[in-house]
Amino acid sequence: HSLEKQFEEFRHQLDDSGSLRERIRTVASEIESETRLIHSCLLLIHQSRPITEVLEKAKGQIGVLRELYVKLAEIMRECPGQYYRYHGDWRSETQTVVSLLAFMHWLETESLLLHAEAEEKLGLKPLEFGLDIEDYLIGICFMSNDLPRYVVNQVTAGNYDCPRKVLKFLRDVHAAFRMLNLRNDFLRKKFDGMKYDLRRVEEVHYDVKIRGLTMSGNSTGYQEGDEGRS
């Protein structure tokens, strides 16, 4: 009976896509816990550990992430053209990944991690299994959300030059975002939040500047992390 046969077939297809989704979710949750680990490393930066030490440890774990994304890409190769069918299962994890990578990239280079660079770091290939641009942009917004806290803690630790640098960076990023036309969606909401991060960093910058605080003079302790730069 053709009706039964068709539904029989559907059941197979849905079972297949169900188990595919199961596998995707497993990888996604591995990505998620790996991300937690990296995040956990990076959090030490707020406790004034030297940047190079923190970065080294965190970068050591990107390899694992990369492998997980390769795994994901392999799974998706089984169902070409269906990237966006399952996209929801790894979106939010990937956004967090981007935010962490971009933060590390900023710590290292004081510049924005570009979309293509992010793909490269994760071993993604645009044509097969790329990084969705909206996910990338949301990830950047997430990173921005962490900067005020970073600046506050750096200044507390005596790193008085930090606000100036972060402010410059964040202003550039904000300006770049303003080129986009967004819908009333999640990305827009996140971008709206970036304005508040910018303001908070400005305030800290002002606090430091108005008091004439500079690295040279009265700061002592926390300079170790700066050798690696400049």
């Binding site: 039964e4 068709q6 059941r11 053209g81 966006y84 990338y136 550039d172």
Partner: protein, 252 residues
């Protein structure tokens, strides 16, 4: 990317370049989404018209009504689904699914309804997809309706079949109604097994509840006809006994 910007200005800003690209991407995506939504709305509206056309069926006008319905359905494909086909390529089928899904579901509803009335059988997904293939061409990928939209359309179909069944009973086409009843029961039974496996199961779950209501409405109508028709009437015996209209199986 670098080459273009670094020419004149003293500020070869890779970030700015990159964001111009992102901006262009987002603009194109949003505009395409808008076009797809519009095409989908047209598909919906015109498919609904086909469905109403099918409901104009009666005992005597079956061929002509269905012929017109099929013609209209073909027009939906030619004029509106073709627009979807033009827009949707590669990953768009899933990325923009939310934008076109309502239209496609309604089309499935209309196409399967027509087909059932004509052949008494379920129009397969493969058949529908095959019928859409002519819209594609060397540079245009064929539109492949996915299982999910097909099944969601099918779920709605049962509501239309319920309306049809009630109408057919009124028109005395009891066998047709009976056939619809079995058909809908079968779809319900099959979908029940599949429903929890759908990508978005919650959507389907509410449709399943409505579907069970539809099945039961048909069953209750059949029950009513049967019970009434089974009644023993000792003093029956007048001129016109064409009570086949109520499907009485010649008083047991």
């Amino acid at each position: 990317t670098d080459a273009t910007a670094s020419a004149a200005d003293s500020d070869p800003n890779p970030m700015k370049d990159a964001f111009s690209k992102y901006a262009a991407y987002l603009n194109e995506l949003n505009e395409k989404r808008e076009r797809v939504v519009k095409a989908s709305r047209d598909v919906t509206m015109n498919s609904k018209k086909v469905i109403f056309q099918v409901h104009r069926i009666s005992k005597h006008n079956k061929e002509e009504v269905l012929e017109k319905a099929e013609k209209d359905l073909a027009a939906v494909v030619d004029q509106h689904i073709s627009r979807l086909v033009k827009e949707l390529q590669g990953t768009d089928f899933w990325k923009l699914r939310r934008a076109y899904s309502p239209g496609v579901q309604e089309y499935v509803e209309a196409a399967t309804l027509c087909n059932f009335c004509k052949t008494g059988a379920l129009l397969n997904l493969d058949q529908i997809n095959a019928s859409l293939r002519p819209l594609s061409g060397p540079s245009v990928e064929p539109l492949q309706i996915n299982v999910l939209d097909y099944l969601l359309g099918l779920a709605d179909l049962t509501g239309e079949l319920m309306r049809l069944a009630i109408g057919r009973i009124s028109d005395g086409e009891l066998e047709f109604a009976q056939k619809i009843c079995s058909f809908v029961r079968e779809i319900h039974r099959e979908l029940m097994l599949i429903a929890p496996k759908m990508d978005d199961a919650s959507d389907m779950k509410t449709k399943m509840d409505v579907m069970l209501q539809s099945v039961m409405k048909i069953e209750n109508a059949c029950f009513s006809v049967h019970v009434r028709g089974s009644e023993y009437i000792p003093f029956l015996g007048s001129e016109d006994t064409n009570f086949s209209l109520l499907g009485v199986p010649e008083i047991e």
